[in-house]
C-alpha cells in the first residue's frame, strides 16, 4: 500500500509539469498586452513599460518565463501579481474560503444524496422515489446561475434565512447558501447513482443470505446493501471535489464569495500568467490528492481491490 501511494505521488510530477506548461503557454499566447491593459486608456512612457516588462520578465522568451516560474515555485516564492501584491499571500487568502465552500457542498451532496438515494432505491417506484426522481431531474435541468439567483432572492432576500451575499468575512454559516447551490446539481447525480446502485444490490444473492441469517432489516441495509452500493458513488464524489474547488466561478460570482473562482476570473481578465498558473497548480494538486483518496477509499470499501502487485 505504501508503495502504491508513493508511486501515485511520483506520478504528480509529470502531471504537474504538463498542466502548468500547457496553461502557461495558453496565457502566453493570449492576444493583447497585459502591461498596456494595466494602464487602461492612458499611454504610459515607453521607459515605464520597458521597466515593467523586464520586472515581470515579459520581454523574455516563453521558455525562460516558464523556467523562472518553476524556479520561483521551488523556492516557495510565487512572485508578485501585476498590482504588486505577493501571489502567495493572495492564494493563502482565497483558498481557505473556497475549501470551506467545497467541503460544505461536498458534505451536502454526500450526506443528503446518499441518504435520499438509499430511501428511494429501497422503495423503488414508491411515492418518495417518484417525487425525488422528478425533483432531481429539475435540479439537473436548471442551470446553476438560475438556481443561484432564485435561492439568493427567495432565501436571502425575501425570507431572510441567510445572508444574500458573503462578502469579505466568509464563515461556515454565511457560506451555507452558496454551498447548497454549488452542491445541488451533484447532489442530484449522487442521489440517482446511489438509488440505482442500491436497487441493484438489493436483489443480490448475498443480501438474501444476510436476511436468511436472521439479521434485522436496518443491519441488512447498512452492512450489506449500503457499503456495496457506495463504491460507484465514492468515485463520483472524489472526481467532483476537484470540480467544486475550481468550478465555483459562477456561484462565487453570484454570492460575492472571495474565493478561488473569483480570483482566477480576475486573473484571466488581466492576463496575469503567474497568478493563473499558481492557482491552476494548486488545483492540480487538489485533484491528484482527491483521486488518491478515492482510490484508497475504494480499497477500503472493496477488499477485492489490491494495489500492491
Amino acid at each position: 500500500m505504501v508503495r502504491f501511494i508513493l508511486r501515485r505521488l511520483l506520478q504528480v510530477i509529470p502531471v504537474f509539469i504538463g498542466t502548468t506548461l500547457l496553461v502557461y503557454y495558453m496565457v502566453f499566447a493570449l492576444p493583447g498586452d497585459p502591461i498596456a491593459a494595466l494602464f487602461g486608456d492612458r499611454q504610459p512612457p515607453q521607459a515605464v513599460i520597458d521597466t515593467l516588462r523586464s520586472q515581470y520578465h515579459l520581454d523574455q522568451p516563453f521558455w525562460v518565463q516558464y523556467g523562472l516560474f518553476l524556479q520561483n515555485l521551488f523556492t516557495f516564492n510565487l512572485g508578485n501579481d501585476f498590482t504588486g501584491q505577493p501571489i502567495a499571500a493572495s492564494l493563502a487568502r482565497v483558498f481557505p474560503v473556497t475549501a470551506m465552500l467545497a467541503v460544505e457542498a461536498l458534505a451536502i451532496q454526500a450526506i443528503f444524496g446518499v441518504a435520499f438515494g438509499v430511501f428511494a432505491g429501497l422503495r423503488r417506484g414508491g411515492w418518495f422515489d417518484s417525487t425525488v426522481l422528478v425533483a432531481s431531474l429539475v435540479v439537473i435541468a436548471v442551470p446553476t446561475f438560475v438556481l443561484g439567483f432564485v435561492f439568493q432572492l427567495v432565501f436571502g432576500v425575501q425570507l431572510g434565512w441567510a445572508k444574500p451575499t458573503v462578502g469579505a468575512n466568509a464563515d461556515w454559516g454565511s457560506l451555507l447558501l452558496p454551498a447548497v447551490v454549488l452542491g445541488l446539481v451533484s447532489f442530484a447525480y449522487v442521489l440517482r447513482l446511489t438509488r440505482a446502485s442500491v436497487s441493484e444490490n438489493m436483489n443480490a444473492d448475498y443480501v438474501r443470505t444476510a436476511t436468511a441469517k436472521g439479521l434485522s432489516r436496518p443491519r441488512v441495509v447498512l452492512a450489506h446493501i449500503l457499503r456495496n452500493s457506495l463504491i460507484p458513488v465514492v468515485t463520483y464524489l472524489g472526481a467532483n471535489l476537484g470540480g467544486l474547488m475550481g468550478g465555483a466561478i459562477v456561484t462565487e460570482g453570484i454570492f460575492n464569495v472571495p474565493g478561488v473562482g473569483n480570483k482566477l476570473y480576475q486573473a484571466v481578465l488581466r492576463s496575469e500568467g503567474p497568478t493563473i498558473v499558481s492557482i491552476v497548480s494548486v488545483l492540480v494538486l487538489v485533484f491528484v490528492v482527491a483521486n488518491l483518496l478515492v482510490d484508497l477509499l475504494y480499497a477500503w470499501l472493496d477488499p477485492r481491490i489490491r494495489y500492491d502487485q
Binding site: 444473492d205 436468511a212 441469517k213 436472521g214 443491519r219 452492512a223 477485492r304 500492491d308
Partner: protein, 573 residues
C-alpha cells in the same frame, strides 16, 4: 394415534415408527402468486410437504418447477413481487405463511437456517468471512467471540479456521465458500435447514465431500433438512423422502428408493429415465448408427489419412504467474498431454475445474498457442498453418460453448446468428444461405419460424440448439463441445445429447467433449481422457474406464457421481 400424512391427494404415506411425533414443517395446499407486468402468475399450486424432526426431504424438479419458490416461502424470503396466496406453512404447528417480518427475523437463523445455491454470489465480497459468521451469531443472541467463530468454521470442515476467518470470500475456493455458507447456515443450530442446490456449482468430488459433511453435521445436531435439487440421483441418495415438483405442483412424493424404483407419474418416469447420474449406458441408437455411419464414410476418406482426425502430442501450456517484485513462477495448466481422436467417434476429456481440460480445447481450436507439443489435424501440424489455411481449418473445426446465454449475440436474430459463419466464409448467395439456415433449423429440430426471433425469447435448450446449428453451418468435421450441456436441466440435457448423437450418426461428425460430468460422458463418449492438474491420468474406452478404472483419481470421480451407488440394475435392451 397414528399420524397419517396426505402428501398428494392420491398418495398416503404412513409415518410408521414416528407415532405421536408432530411434523416440524408441514406445508398444506400452498399457493404462491407472482405479480408481473403481464398479470398474476401462479408459481406454486396445491403444494404439500411434510418434514418430521431430523428428517431429510428433497424437492426435485427442473428450473421453473417451483421447488425453490416453495422453499423460500418457508423462510419468508419470496421476492418482493411474490406472495403466498393460499394454504398454510405450519412450523411446529404455527402457521408462518403470513407471519410478521418481526416473527420471521426471530425464526431465521435460530429455527430455520439456509444454505444457498451459488457460493460465488452468496457471500458479501466486502466483509471478512469471520465477520459474516459473527453477525449471524450476534443477531441470534449467541456468543460471537473469536473462538466461537473459529469453532463454527472448523465444524463445517474449514481447516485453519482462525486464519480463514480473517480472509475475504475472494480468497476462498468455491468449495471453501460453500463450507463457509454451511457454517453460517448451521451456526445457530436451527431445527430446519433449507439447502437450495447447495452443491450444484461445485465439482463432483467436492460436492460429495460437502454433502457428506452436511449429512454428518445435521445428523449430529438433529437438524431436519429440506434439500432442493434438480438431480434425482442426488436426492435419492441423500434424502429419506423425495417430493417431485412439476410446473408448480407436487406430482409425486414418497420414500426415495421406492419412488426411484417405481415411479408412478409420467413426469417422474421421464426424470428417472433421463437422469444422467442413473443412466448406465451410452445412448444406444446413436452408437449403432454411429458405427454404421463411420463405416459408410470409411471408403470415402482418403487412404493416406490415418483414422485419427486429431492427434495431440505432448501438449504443454505454461502460464507465468506474477508473484510480486517482478518475479514470476511458471504454472503448467496443461502438462504433457497426448491422445488421439478417431474420426466419427466421441472423445471426452473429464476433470475438475482447474484440471486444464478447457485449455486443451482452446488450443485445439487454435484460440491459444501451446507452449510445447503439437496438434495434428488430418496429419498436418496446426501450428504451421498460414493465416489462409487457418481460416480454412476453422471451417472444419467448430466449437459449441457452455453458456447458451453468453455465446449468442443478443442483438442478432437467429437467422443472422446462424448465417454469420456462412457470410464470413463467403459461402453461397443470400438465397442459398437462407435455404441452408432453414435446413440447419430442421436438423436441430426447431421450427423455421425461429429465424425471426432473438436469443432472449428462447429457452436455454433452444439456445443451445441454435449454437449447434451455427456450429454445423460450415459442415465441419470436428465439433469441440466445451461443457455444452452443463447449464441445461436434465430433461433438456438428455434431448440435446440425443440430438448430438443423431447428428453424429447422420453426418459422421467427430466430437471432442469437454465436461466435468462423468454421467454425461457415460451417455455420449466412446473414449475418455481423465485429466488431473494438467496431466492426463487415465485414458481408454468409456466402458473400460467406467467398469475398471485404474487410477485412484478416476475412482474418486466415479464414486462421486451422485446416486452412483443407487444405480438401477441395467435393464436388458
Amino acid at each position: 394415534m397414528r399420524d397419517k400424512e396426505m402428501i398428494t391427494p392420491e398418495i398416503n404415506i404412513e409415518e410408521a415408527g414416528r407415532t405421536g411425533v408432530r411434523p416440524l414443517l408441514e406445508i398444506r395446499d400452498l399457493a404462491i402468486t407472482f405479480k408481473t407486468g403481464s398479470g398474476d402468475v401462479q408459481a406454486v399450486r396445491n403444494a404439500h410437504l411434510t418434514i418430521m424432526p431430523g428428517e431429510t426431504v428433497a424437492i426435485v424438479g427442473e428450473s421453473g418447477s417451483g421447488k425453490s419458490t416453495t422453499a423460500l416461502a418457508a423462510i419468508g424470503l419470496l421476492p418482493a413481487n411474490g406472495a403466498v396466496s393460499g394454504g398454510q406453512i405450519l412450523l411446529d404447528g404455527e402457521d408462518i405463511a403470513h407471519a410478521s417480518e418481526k416473527r420471521m427475523i426471530e425464526l431465521r437463523g435460530n429455527t430455520i437456517g439456509m444454505v444457498p445455491q451459488d457460493p460465488m454470489s452468496n457471500l458479501n465480497p466486502v466483509w471478512k468471512i469471520g465477520y459474516q459468521v459473527k453477525e449471524t451469531l450476534r443477531a441470534n443472541g449467541r456468543p460471537s467471540g473469536t473462538e466461537d467463530i473459529a469453532k463454527v468454521l472448523s465444524q463445517a470442515g474449514l481447516p485453519d479456521a482462525h486464519r480463514r476467518a480473517n480472509q475475504y470470500p475472494h480468497e476462498f475456493s468455491g468449495g471453501m465458500r460453500q463450507r463457509a455458507l454451511i457454517a453460517i447456515g448451521l451456526s445457530c443450530q436451527p431445527r430446519l435447514l433449507i439447502a437450495d442446490e447447495p452443491t450444484s456449482a461445485l465439482d463432483v468430488t467436492v460436492q460429495r465431500q460437502i454433502l457428506d459433511h452436511l449429512e454428518t453435521m445435521t445428523n449430529e445436531l438433529g437438524t431436519a433438512v429440506l434439500l432442493i435439487t434438480h438431480d434425482l440421483g442426488l436426492a435419492a441418495e441423500r434424502a429419506d423422502k423425495v417430493v417431485v415438483m412439476y410446473r408448480g405442483q407436487v406430482v409425486e412424493a414418497g420414500p426415495s428408493l421406492e419412488l426411484l424404483r417405481n415411479p408412478q407419474h409420467p413426469y417422474t418416469r421421464r426424470l428417472v429415465e433421463s437422469a444422467p447420474s442413473l443412466a448406465s449406458r451410452r445412448i444406444q441408437v446413436a452408437k449403432e448408427q454411429g458405427v454404421e455411419a463411420s463405416d459408410l464414410l470409411a471408403p470415402a476418406a482418403e487412404a493416406a489419412v490415418a483414422d485419427n482426425v486429431l492427434q495431440i502430442q505432448d501438449l504443454r501450456r505454461v502460464y507465468k504467474l506474477r508473484s510480486g517484485l517482478g518475479k514470476s513462477t511458471d504454472f503448467a495448466a496443461v502438462d504433457g498431454v497426448s491422445f488421439d481422436v478417431k474420426r466419427g467417434t466421441t472423445t471426452a476429456i473429464v476433470g475438475e475445474s482447474g484440471s486444464g481440460k478447457s485449455t486443451v480445447a482452446r488450443m485445439v481450436l487454435q484460440l491459444e498457442k501451446p507452449s510445447e507439443g503439437r496438434i495434428l489435424f488430418d496429419g498436418v501440424d496446426t501450428s504451421l498453418l498460414k493465416p489462409k489455411e487457418l481460416f480454412k481449418f476453422r471451417r472444419r473445426v467448430q466449437p459449441i460453448f457452455q453458456d447458451p446465454y453468453g455465446s449468442l449475440d443478443p442483438m442478432y436474430n437467429i437467422f443472422r446468428t446462424i448465417e454469420e459463419p456462412l457470410r464470413v466464409h463467403k459461402i453461397g448467395d443470400a438465397a442459398s444461405r437462407e435455404k441452408k439456415v432453414r435446413e440447419l433449423l430442421d436438423q436441430v429440430a426447431l421450427p423455421q419460424s425461429t429465424m425471426q426471433r432473438y436469443p432472449n425469447e428462447l429457452s436455454g435448450g433452444q439456445r443451445q440448439r441454435i449454437a449447434i446449428a451455427r456450429a454445423l453451418a460450415l459442415d465441419p468435421e470436428v465439433i469441440i463441445c466445451d461443457e455444452a450441456v452443463s447449464a441445461l436441466d436434465v430433461l433438456v440435457q438428455a434431448q440435446v445429447l440425443n440430438l448430438l448423437a443423431d447428428l453424429q450418426a447422420n453426418l459422421g461428425l467427430t466430437y471432442l467433449f469437454i465436461t466435468h460430468d462423468l454421467a454425461v460422458v457415460r451417455q455420449i463418449a466412446d473414449h475418455v481422457c481423465v485429466m488431473e492438474k494438467g496431466k492426463l491420468v487415465e485414458t481408454g474406452s468409456t466402458d473400460d474406464v467406467f467398469e475398471s478404472p485404474q487410477q485412484d483419481y478416476t475412482k474418486a470421480l466415479l464414486n462421486a457421481i451422485p446416486g452412483a451407488k443407487l444405480m438401477l440394475p441395467p435393464e436388458v435392451a
